[in-house]
Amino acid sequence: MTSLFKGLLVPICTYVILAVSLNLTVGILGELSLGHAGFMCVGAFSGAFFTKAMADAIPSVNVRFGIALLVGAAVAALFGFLIGIPVLRLKGDYLAIVTLAFGEIIKNLINVFYVGKDANGFHFSMKDVASLNMGPEGEVIIKGAQGITGTPKASNFTIGILLVLLTLIIVLNLIHSRTGRAIMAIRDNRIAAESVGIHITKYKLLAFSISASLAGVAGVLYAHNLSSLAATPKNFGYNMSIMILVFVVLGGIGNIRGSMIAAVLLTALPELLRGLNNYRMLIYAIVLIVMMLFNSAPKAIEMRERLFDHMKKKNRKEAA
């Protein structure tokens, strides 16, 4: 395996988790979120902050990383919950607008955020390092636009895969439970769901918070794969949110397996095609279109079903 591909393994896990978690909001709950990168950002920074701040208290990197995952998930879930309270009560596409704004605001907010730690405890500022008023031995943890530097590189492929599995267990078990049925009932017909006694806001909030918290987990994984973490338009911006949405839409809305395949393919592809230079984006675009057709064109679906039937028959013959 080339080192290039090795370097891609953790990002692929990150994007798979993001795609699956966004599919919970878009495909299962039926609400559009355009700020998934924002939840990832919140998770990444709170997780990285935790590992840095607790460096003295908890010496083991892996234990700190484990707790950081929980912290990232909890903080992202909290933000999801707070955004959901007013917005998920409304009918229509308000969630898309608000999450879009949230993603941009959180990124800019973190860029002017300074946090330091000295003997007296934590210091916050929105201006610069000097206004933190720390003692001489104080250490800056979040340094405005430069973000958090010196995060331990605790992420690896094994942890990534474990987190992907955990995400899948949570999301799939949720879908196939009483709660998942209620969430999908709301998606399919809100008025009918209400008429059979399903609490609309409660289940919408629940689904959205779980989706946000899983994005937070992906963020923590992402943050611990880099030595320095800064909120730039490239990693936590609008484009990233759209990118995650592209995974979901191309893999099939509501299709968990599909969004995983799309996330893997579309993350690996640009890197694998790097040798082709200028033709890279061209091939990328063609793959996008082919996947779209394969997933949703009626003729393609028909062909796929025929193929599956054929394979099933063949298997049965072999079995007999």
């Binding site: 439970s177 009483r178 059979v196």
Partner: protein, 252 residues
């Protein structure tokens, strides 16, 4: 005590008095019909009874409990379930899951128990499957349990909606044009099913219908609504021969 007792119920939308001084009393176990011309306010009455709209004036008592101004969910839990004029199924869910969604409040387990697949999850899901299949059998839908709801033929979609409503264990069942779009054979079958539901589930039923064969065939009492007001109410045969009703709705 009457199962449903409604007094002075009114609601206006802007300048339009959609329902004006509506009253109705339905005894337990009765099969009651609500008829009237298009736009008379029949579905609005259903929406008032189920808390979709809040009435301007009036009171609604269900089995002695005041449910006026309560939310749809609470009213469902107190005991009113309904079907819709334009079918509202959970289209992408299976037929079985549609009924299981109706069982939501009667077979609870927590979200965490569901995600962790604790023993209670398997136990309660098994109960739900059994109960849902029993209900589907009543409507002859058990063979289609695994179908996606939107793939059912029209008549069966209507039946599934009734099955889903019954799953919430109501005291009063509201059916909004159950026979709309059905052929005479399907309508006849539906009449038998409605009677069966009333007898075997010990149900009180209020239905809106335009099909006079169905109305005269199964309803014991009728209320005629015209321009949001009660034109007349009473025994089915008397109401259908009332000259006022003939001019306003039935025609000579």
């Amino acid at each position: 005590m009457a199962m449903l007792e409604v007094k002075n119920l009114s609601i206006s939308f802007g300048g339009l008095k959609a329902v004006n001084d509506f009253q109705i009393t339905i005894e337990k176990g009765q099969l009651y019909g609500l008829i009237g011309p298009n736009g008379a306010g029949k579905t609005t009455v259903f929406n008032l009874l189920t808390g979709v709209y809040q009435p301007d004036t009036g009171s609604i008592l269900l089995d002695g409990v005041n449910i006026t101004g309560k939310k749809t969910i609470d009213i469902n839990q107190t005991g009113i379930a309904r079907t819709f004029q334009n079918i509202r199924l959970f289209k992408e869910l299976s037929v079985l899951d549609n009924v299981k969604a109706g069982l939501h409040n009667h077979h609870p387990y927590s979200t965490l128990e569901g995600i962790l697949r604790l023993p209670r999850y398997f136990k309660v899901e098994k109960e739900m499957d059994q109960r849902a299949l029993d209900l589907l059998k009543v409507f002859d839908l058990d063979k289609e349990a695994d179908y996606t709801a939107s793939n059912l033929p029209y008549g069966k979609q209507r039946k599934l909606e009734i099955a889903r409503a019954l799953a919430t264990k109501p005291k009063l069942l509201l059916l909004d044009e159950p026979a709309a779009g059905m052929n005479p054979n399907e309508t006849k079958e539906l009449m038998d099913t409605i009677r069966f539901v009333r007898d075997n589930f010990d149900m009180t039923i209020l239905l809106i219908e335009h099909d006079m064969k169905l109305v005269s065939g199964i309803c014991e009492r009728l209320t005629v609504l015209n321009f949001g007001q009660v034109l007349t109410q009473g025994e089915t045969a008397d109401v259908l021969n009332d000259p006022q009703v003939i001019t306003a709705y039935l025609g000579e």
